[in-house]
Symmetry: C2
Subunit: 137 residues, 2 copies
Protein backbone atom coordinates (compact mmCIF):
# COMPACT_ATOMS: atom_id res chain seq x y z
CA UNK A 1 0.00 0.00 0.00
CA UNK A 2 1.24 3.47 -0.79
CA UNK A 3 1.48 4.40 2.84
CA UNK A 4 2.41 7.93 3.61
CA UNK A 5 4.02 9.72 6.50
CA UNK A 6 1.99 12.93 6.52
CA UNK A 7 0.21 11.98 9.74
CA UNK A 8 3.59 11.24 11.35
CA UNK A 9 4.92 14.61 10.19
CA UNK A 10 1.89 16.49 11.50
CA UNK A 11 2.03 14.78 14.91
CA UNK A 12 5.77 15.52 15.06
CA UNK A 13 5.17 19.19 14.21
CA UNK A 14 2.49 19.57 16.88
CA UNK A 15 4.69 17.88 19.46
CA UNK A 16 7.61 20.11 18.51
CA UNK A 17 5.52 23.25 18.96
CA UNK A 18 4.18 21.96 22.28
CA UNK A 19 7.65 21.12 23.56
CA UNK A 20 9.57 24.17 22.35
CA UNK A 21 6.77 26.67 22.90
CA UNK A 22 5.51 29.45 20.70
CA UNK A 23 8.57 31.73 21.03
CA UNK A 24 10.86 31.35 18.05
CA UNK A 25 9.08 28.30 16.74
CA UNK A 26 8.85 28.78 13.01
CA UNK A 27 8.77 26.56 9.94
CA UNK A 28 12.57 26.64 9.56
CA UNK A 29 13.16 25.34 13.11
CA UNK A 30 10.48 22.68 12.70
CA UNK A 31 11.89 21.65 9.32
CA UNK A 32 15.29 21.02 10.90
CA UNK A 33 13.72 18.62 13.39
CA UNK A 34 11.84 16.80 10.63
CA UNK A 35 14.81 16.89 8.24
CA UNK A 36 12.63 18.28 5.52
CA UNK A 37 11.99 21.45 3.55
CA UNK A 38 10.26 24.41 5.31
CA UNK A 39 7.78 24.47 2.41
CA UNK A 40 6.57 21.00 3.41
CA UNK A 41 6.21 22.18 7.01
CA UNK A 42 4.31 25.33 6.01
CA UNK A 43 1.87 23.26 3.97
CA UNK A 44 1.08 21.04 6.95
CA UNK A 45 0.93 24.05 9.30
CA UNK A 46 -1.66 25.58 6.99
CA UNK A 47 -3.84 22.46 7.34
CA UNK A 48 -3.40 22.51 11.12
CA UNK A 49 -4.32 26.20 11.16
CA UNK A 50 -7.44 25.54 9.06
CA UNK A 51 -8.54 22.97 11.65
CA UNK A 52 -7.96 25.58 14.39
CA UNK A 53 -5.11 23.70 16.06
CA UNK A 54 -2.36 26.29 15.67
CA UNK A 55 -2.10 30.06 15.49
CA UNK A 56 0.40 31.53 13.04
CA UNK A 57 1.93 34.95 13.51
CA UNK A 58 3.32 36.75 10.48
CA UNK A 59 6.17 39.24 10.43
CA UNK A 60 9.58 39.67 12.05
CA UNK A 61 8.56 37.94 15.29
CA UNK A 62 6.46 35.47 13.36
CA UNK A 63 6.04 31.92 14.47
CA UNK A 64 3.49 29.35 15.41
CA UNK A 65 1.79 28.39 18.68
CA UNK A 66 -0.78 25.83 19.73
CA UNK A 67 -4.29 27.24 19.87
CA UNK A 68 -5.09 25.27 23.03
CA UNK A 69 -3.33 23.14 25.63
CA UNK A 70 -1.92 19.71 24.59
CA UNK A 71 -4.42 17.94 26.87
CA UNK A 72 -7.21 19.24 24.65
CA UNK A 73 -5.69 18.24 21.32
CA UNK A 74 -5.97 14.63 20.18
CA UNK A 75 -4.30 12.78 17.32
CA UNK A 76 -7.85 12.51 15.97
CA UNK A 77 -7.91 16.32 15.61
CA UNK A 78 -4.54 16.23 13.85
CA UNK A 79 -5.67 13.39 11.59
CA UNK A 80 -8.77 15.34 10.58
CA UNK A 81 -6.61 18.37 9.84
CA UNK A 82 -4.17 16.66 7.51
CA UNK A 83 -6.23 13.90 5.95
CA UNK A 84 -9.51 15.77 5.66
CA UNK A 85 -12.46 13.90 4.26
CA UNK A 86 -10.43 11.59 2.04
CA UNK A 87 -10.46 8.50 4.22
CA UNK A 88 -7.91 5.72 4.24
CA UNK A 89 -9.19 3.53 1.40
CA UNK A 90 -10.46 4.56 -2.01
CA UNK A 91 -12.82 2.97 -4.47
CA UNK A 92 -11.54 2.22 -7.95
CA UNK A 93 -11.95 5.24 -10.20
CA UNK A 94 -13.67 3.27 -12.93
CA UNK A 95 -15.23 -0.16 -13.15
CA UNK A 96 -17.22 -1.86 -15.88
CA UNK A 97 -20.83 -0.92 -15.13
CA UNK A 98 -22.09 -3.59 -17.52
CA UNK A 99 -20.82 -6.14 -14.98
CA UNK A 100 -23.32 -6.89 -12.21
CA UNK A 101 -20.53 -7.42 -9.65
CA UNK A 102 -18.80 -4.16 -10.57
CA UNK A 103 -22.08 -2.23 -10.31
CA UNK A 104 -22.62 -3.30 -6.70
CA UNK A 105 -19.09 -2.94 -5.37
CA UNK A 106 -19.22 0.83 -4.97
CA UNK A 107 -22.06 0.96 -2.44
CA UNK A 108 -20.90 -2.08 -0.49
CA UNK A 109 -17.31 -0.97 -0.19
CA UNK A 110 -18.22 2.64 0.55
CA UNK A 111 -20.09 1.44 3.65
CA UNK A 112 -17.23 -0.79 4.80
CA UNK A 113 -14.58 1.85 4.16
CA UNK A 114 -16.63 4.37 6.14
CA UNK A 115 -16.65 2.00 9.13
CA UNK A 116 -12.90 1.62 8.80
CA UNK A 117 -12.42 5.39 8.71
CA UNK A 118 -14.55 5.74 11.84
CA UNK A 119 -12.38 3.15 13.58
CA UNK A 120 -9.21 4.98 12.55
CA UNK A 121 -10.58 8.29 13.75
CA UNK A 122 -11.75 6.82 17.08
CA UNK A 123 -8.38 5.20 17.71
CA UNK A 124 -6.46 8.41 17.03
CA UNK A 125 -8.95 10.26 19.24
CA UNK A 126 -7.80 8.21 22.25
CA UNK A 127 -4.32 9.72 22.29
CA UNK A 128 -3.77 13.35 23.24
CA UNK A 129 -0.83 15.52 22.30
CA UNK A 130 -0.10 15.67 26.05
CA UNK A 131 0.49 11.88 26.01
CA UNK A 132 2.98 12.18 23.15
CA UNK A 133 4.63 15.07 24.94
CA UNK A 134 5.15 13.08 28.15
CA UNK A 135 7.22 10.59 26.15
CA UNK A 136 9.67 13.34 25.14
CA UNK A 137 12.58 13.45 27.53
CA UNK B 1 -3.46 11.38 1.77
CA UNK B 2 -2.22 9.20 -1.04
CA UNK B 3 -5.09 6.81 -0.74
CA UNK B 4 -5.03 3.78 -2.94
CA UNK B 5 -7.65 1.46 -4.34
CA UNK B 6 -5.82 -1.84 -4.05
CA UNK B 7 -8.09 -3.07 -1.26
CA UNK B 8 -11.14 -2.14 -3.37
CA UNK B 9 -9.68 -4.02 -6.34
CA UNK B 10 -8.91 -7.11 -4.28
CA UNK B 11 -12.40 -7.20 -2.72
CA UNK B 12 -13.90 -6.74 -6.19
CA UNK B 13 -11.80 -9.60 -7.59
CA UNK B 14 -12.79 -11.96 -4.77
CA UNK B 15 -16.45 -11.05 -5.18
CA UNK B 16 -16.22 -11.59 -8.94
CA UNK B 17 -14.73 -15.08 -8.49
CA UNK B 18 -17.36 -15.93 -5.87
CA UNK B 19 -20.21 -14.73 -8.10
CA UNK B 20 -19.08 -16.13 -11.45
CA UNK B 21 -17.58 -19.34 -10.05
CA UNK B 22 -14.31 -21.06 -10.85
CA UNK B 23 -15.20 -22.16 -14.41
CA UNK B 24 -13.78 -19.78 -16.98
CA UNK B 25 -12.82 -17.18 -14.40
CA UNK B 26 -9.42 -15.94 -15.42
CA UNK B 27 -7.47 -12.71 -15.13
CA UNK B 28 -8.76 -11.42 -18.50
CA UNK B 29 -12.41 -11.78 -17.47
CA UNK B 30 -11.74 -10.20 -14.08
CA UNK B 31 -9.79 -7.35 -15.71
CA UNK B 32 -12.79 -6.52 -17.90
CA UNK B 33 -14.96 -6.13 -14.80
CA UNK B 34 -12.36 -3.94 -13.10
CA UNK B 35 -11.59 -2.02 -16.31
CA UNK B 36 -7.91 -2.60 -15.81
CA UNK B 37 -4.99 -4.55 -17.21
CA UNK B 38 -4.82 -8.35 -16.64
CA UNK B 39 -1.29 -7.82 -15.32
CA UNK B 40 -2.68 -5.75 -12.45
CA UNK B 41 -5.21 -8.49 -11.73
CA UNK B 42 -2.60 -11.24 -11.81
CA UNK B 43 -0.44 -9.34 -9.33
CA UNK B 44 -3.31 -9.08 -6.87
CA UNK B 45 -4.31 -12.72 -7.49
CA UNK B 46 -0.77 -13.73 -6.59
CA UNK B 47 -1.10 -11.95 -3.23
CA UNK B 48 -4.48 -13.59 -2.63
CA UNK B 49 -2.98 -16.97 -3.50
CA UNK B 50 -0.07 -16.43 -1.12
CA UNK B 51 -2.58 -15.81 1.68
CA UNK B 52 -4.36 -19.05 0.72
CA UNK B 53 -7.57 -17.36 -0.41
CA UNK B 54 -7.64 -18.50 -4.03
CA UNK B 55 -6.44 -21.49 -6.01
CA UNK B 56 -4.98 -20.84 -9.47
CA UNK B 57 -4.97 -23.45 -12.19
CA UNK B 58 -2.43 -23.15 -14.99
CA UNK B 59 -2.83 -24.32 -18.58
CA UNK B 60 -5.52 -24.36 -21.24
CA UNK B 61 -8.39 -24.69 -18.75
CA UNK B 62 -6.63 -22.42 -16.34
CA UNK B 63 -8.48 -20.10 -14.06
CA UNK B 64 -8.98 -19.16 -10.47
CA UNK B 65 -11.31 -20.37 -7.72
CA UNK B 66 -11.88 -19.50 -4.08
CA UNK B 67 -10.09 -21.83 -1.72
CA UNK B 68 -13.02 -21.86 0.71
CA UNK B 69 -16.64 -20.73 0.88
CA UNK B 70 -17.41 -16.97 0.96
CA UNK B 71 -18.82 -17.30 4.48
CA UNK B 72 -15.34 -18.21 5.67
CA UNK B 73 -13.47 -15.38 3.97
CA UNK B 74 -13.49 -11.94 5.54
CA UNK B 75 -12.36 -8.58 4.22
CA UNK B 76 -9.76 -8.83 7.00
CA UNK B 77 -8.26 -11.84 5.22
CA UNK B 78 -8.25 -9.94 1.92
CA UNK B 79 -6.71 -6.89 3.58
CA UNK B 80 -3.91 -8.98 5.06
CA UNK B 81 -3.30 -10.52 1.65
CA UNK B 82 -2.90 -7.28 -0.26
CA UNK B 83 -1.53 -4.91 2.35
CA UNK B 84 0.68 -7.35 4.21
CA UNK B 85 2.56 -6.03 7.19
CA UNK B 86 2.87 -2.49 5.90
CA UNK B 87 0.10 -0.89 7.90
CA UNK B 88 -1.86 2.20 7.03
CA UNK B 89 0.42 4.93 8.36
CA UNK B 90 4.18 5.23 8.07
CA UNK B 91 6.79 6.96 10.15
CA UNK B 92 8.99 9.56 8.48
CA UNK B 93 12.00 7.95 6.86
CA UNK B 94 14.45 10.28 8.50
CA UNK B 95 14.25 12.78 11.33
CA UNK B 96 16.90 14.84 13.08
CA UNK B 97 18.10 12.61 15.90
CA UNK B 98 19.84 15.55 17.55
CA UNK B 99 16.37 16.92 18.31
CA UNK B 100 14.86 15.50 21.51
CA UNK B 101 11.34 15.64 20.08
CA UNK B 102 12.36 13.86 16.87
CA UNK B 103 14.15 11.12 18.84
CA UNK B 104 10.99 10.20 20.74
CA UNK B 105 8.47 10.39 17.94
CA UNK B 106 9.32 7.00 16.42
CA UNK B 107 8.44 4.86 19.44
CA UNK B 108 5.35 6.88 20.38
CA UNK B 109 3.90 6.91 16.89
CA UNK B 110 4.75 3.27 16.21
CA UNK B 111 2.56 2.30 19.17
CA UNK B 112 -0.32 4.52 18.07
CA UNK B 113 -0.12 3.41 14.43
CA UNK B 114 -0.14 -0.23 15.56
CA UNK B 115 -3.40 0.39 17.44
CA UNK B 116 -4.84 2.02 14.35
CA UNK B 117 -3.83 -0.95 12.19
CA UNK B 118 -5.46 -3.33 14.68
CA UNK B 119 -8.67 -1.28 14.48
CA UNK B 120 -8.59 -1.36 10.67
CA UNK B 121 -8.01 -5.11 10.65
CA UNK B 122 -10.77 -5.75 13.19
CA UNK B 123 -13.25 -3.66 11.25
CA UNK B 124 -12.51 -5.44 7.97
CA UNK B 125 -12.76 -8.76 9.83
CA UNK B 126 -16.43 -8.06 10.57
CA UNK B 127 -17.50 -8.29 6.94
CA UNK B 128 -17.42 -11.60 5.07
CA UNK B 129 -17.23 -12.06 1.33
CA UNK B 130 -20.67 -13.67 1.64
CA UNK B 131 -22.06 -10.33 2.84
CA UNK B 132 -20.60 -8.51 -0.15
CA UNK B 133 -21.95 -11.23 -2.41
CA UNK B 134 -25.50 -10.88 -1.09
CA UNK B 135 -25.47 -7.24 -2.25
CA UNK B 136 -24.82 -8.33 -5.86
CA UNK B 137 -28.08 -8.68 -7.74
Amino acid sequence: MAINSRMASAAHIMCFIAYIGGEGTNSEAIARSLKTNPVVVRKILKSLQNEGLVVMRQGRNGGVSLSRVPEEITLGDIYRAVEGEGGVFALREAVNLRCVVARCMGDSLTAVFRSVDDAVQQTFQQTTLATLLRAVR
